[in-house]
């Protein structure tokens, strides 16, 4: 039986949970989301104006699934992160250098990984720690577990639903449980590994598998306010895994679109914030984000 999009969009979402948070917190999360959206909208505009700009570049667009990184960055700015590709939301949310992000995408020496990768973003300045993978997809999970074991510091490992099912990832959940590591695994579950949907790849649910290994776990849609509650709850029960249902609006790589997204969380969130009386502030945040990102990409526009 085909699952209705609304069932995924609303999976374990706690209605009205936005009411639990302060204005500052709500707007801070929205600001992270807006900066990512505008960052990528300007990239799209650059590409429309000159399709040579991103020729031979590997762009993993985050638009559509930006809630996860936006929320984590707001809640846990000083944790140690291990991410893979498609992590610009986290990178921007944590306040890492936008110039270095842009330059990495453009393969410039001044990029955050010296222009060597273009699609993954590590950053180790200003109290921000983002490690990334350079080899196998999802290797950031066992790396993060080793790091958490050795450092005893709170560590967050983020991956997609494909990476989450790698053999070494599965072993990592067990290892984290065995050693009671201070680690949170966050799975951005957009239902696609490149183009292969989950139902083609597996019949099991990653949150349940994690639970079987002894982790606290949750499976929840990308409502930021519910997610904040879930992350807070899980933080007291580490090690834990949270599977976040998200949309990937664009192709695995590049700017192509096959189908319209099943839901537009950005629009939903903006509407929610407006309804509680902060419409002016959301518009201002969007405007400022657009100005910032247009200025950032000015020479390519």
């Amino acid at each position: 039986m085909k699952i209705k999009p609304e069932a995924i969009r609303d999976l374990n979402v706690q209605p009205d949970s936005i009411q639990s948070f302060t204005k500052d917190k709500i707007l801070a999360v929205f600001k992270n989301m807006a900066r990512l959206r505008k960052f990528e909208q300007v990239i799209l505009e650059c590409n429309q104006k000159n399709c040579e700009t991103f020729k031979n570049k590997v762009i993993h667009m985050v638009t559509g699934q930006e809630v996860t990184g936006s929320v984590l960055a707001e809640m846990y700015p000083k944790y140690h992160y291990f991410a893979g590709h498609r992590c610009a939301d986290l990178y921007l949310g944590l306040g890492a250098s936008t110039q270095e992000l842009r330059d990495e995408i453009m393969y410039l020496d001044s990029g955050c990984m010296n222009g060597t990768q273009g699609a993954q973003f590590a950053y180790h300045k200003d109290g921000i720690t983002i490690h990334t993978n350079t080899g196998f997809i999802g290797e950031q999970l066992p790396l993060a577990a080793g790091y958490a074991l050795a450092s005893e510091q709170k560590t967050i490992a983020i991956c997609g639903d494909g990476a989450a099912e790698e053999d070494y990832a599965l072993q990592t959940y067990g290892f984290a449980a065995t050693h009671k590591l201070p680690i949170l695994f966050v799975v951005n579950d957009n239902n696609l590994s490149v183009l292969s949907p989950k139902e083609n790849r597996r019949s099991w649910n990653i949150a349940k598998v994690a639970e079987g290994f002894g982790l606290a776990s949750a499976d929840v849609a990308d409502d930021p306010w519910t997610l904040m509650k879930v992350f807070s709850y899980m933080e007291t029960r580490l090690p834990a895994l949270v599977n976040v249902r998200v949309n990937r609006n664009y192709w695995h790589i590049g700017f192509g679109i096959d189908n319209p997204p099943l839901w537009d969380r950005y629009a939903i969130v903006k509407q929610q914030i407006s309804e509680i009386g902060y419409e002016y502030e959301t518009c201002e945040i969007e405007q400022n984000a657009e100005i910032e990102m247009r200025e950032l990409w000015r020479e390519y526009l």
């Binding site: 196998f136 290797e139 993060a144 080793g146 050795a150 072993q171 290892f175």
Partner: protein
């Protein structure tokens, strides 16, 4: 005073690292007292990993990323076929890519005359990849040299050990004679047959130099220029496979260093190992090295 064996040196150096440097050791089945031929001390920083070589390698690398230099132990080098990828694709390149280092000392133990799951020597594979140093120590001094090199640098180091060397106490010396007709180079366990091969050749009137190679990458070919100029014929014998392996590479490096010299590569066959003596595919012994040397000297080919 009783001499320390290679086994003792490994265990004591490891213990010191765990105690004094807050180092860590990861591996499958390593926590038992007397583990891995009694080379691993009993210590809380020794971590028995789940039976997943790839994940275990990543755990060791993650620990190293946090600043705690770690040791990753595989009891049989064959297991590195699963454990290699995190070292090749992450630990050895991460410094160059984003400036963080993940120094892990990889202790990969080799052996001979065992089944095809347990008896391979795979150091050649690691020579191929960027950022990885490769050493095959057979003596306490060589092992310590590899360890000290590792401790001074920020890259992973592949230490190709051999079970048949754990009882070794003495250092080896290269042996050079005035009128040698051939140079015999040895790597890993093959080195243990060099002196006997030299002795057999000497008995039939053929003089040979012998050279013990511990560092495979970087390999210092210049060290051998003088002897190769004098005796421009050589045979490099490894405990691993010849094809696309360390002996072929080192033979090439030597010939490149001394144009006109001819150096042949020797090692195990391009077939699986076995516990059955009929199919051992064992590391070349002294007689086999002698046979190859005689063939080169007599026929100009192996």
């Amino acid at each position: 005073m009783e001499k320390l064996t290679l086994r003792d040196i490994i265990r004591e150096t490891t213990n010191k690292h765990l105690c004094e440097n807050n180092g860590m050791l990861f591996g499958e089945c390593v926590k038992d007292p007397g583990g891995v031929s009694n080379t691993i001390p009993v210590h809380e920083n020794v971590i028995d990993t789940p039976m997943s070589e790839t994940a275990a390698a990543d755990f060791a690398i993650g620990a190293a990323l946090s600043g705690r230099r770690s040791i990753y132990v595989v009891r049989f080098q064959n297991f590195m076929l699963m454990g290699a990828s995190p070292f090749i694709s992450f630990a050895s390149v991460v410094k160059g890519i984003y400036g963080k280092s993940a120094p892990v000392f990889i202790r990969a133990v080799g052996c001979d005359k065992l089944d095809c799951n347990h008896a391979d020597i795979l150091h050649s594979m690691f020579m191929h990849f960027s950022g990885m140093k490769v050493c095959a120590p057979m003596t306490p001094g060589e092992w310590l040299n590899a360890w000290e090199t590792f401790m001074q640098e920020e890259q992973p180091l592949f230490c190709s050990e051999h079970r048949d060397a754990f009882n070794v106490t003495d250092e080896t010396q290269d042996e050079i004679c005035e009128d040698a007709q051939i140079n015999l180079f040895g790597i890993s366990k093959a080195r243990q047959s060099l002196s006997e091969a030299k002795y057999i050749l000497n008995k039939i009137g053929i003089k040979a130099n012998i050279f013990h190679i511990a560092w495979l990458k970087p390999f210092n070919a210049e060290k051998y220029i003088e002897v190769l100029r004098k005796t421009p014929l050589g045979l490099v014998t490894d405990a691993g496979r010849v094809i696309c392996g360390a002996p072929e590479h080192i033979a090439y490096e030597l010939m490149h260093a001394v144009p006109g010299s001819i150096v042949y590569a020797n090692g195990i066959e391009d077939s699986p190992k076995s516990k059955n003596p009929k199919f051992y595919n064992a590391v070349p012994d002294a007689q086999l090295i002698v046979d190859k040397a005689l063939s080169i000297l007599t026929n100009g080919r192996m």
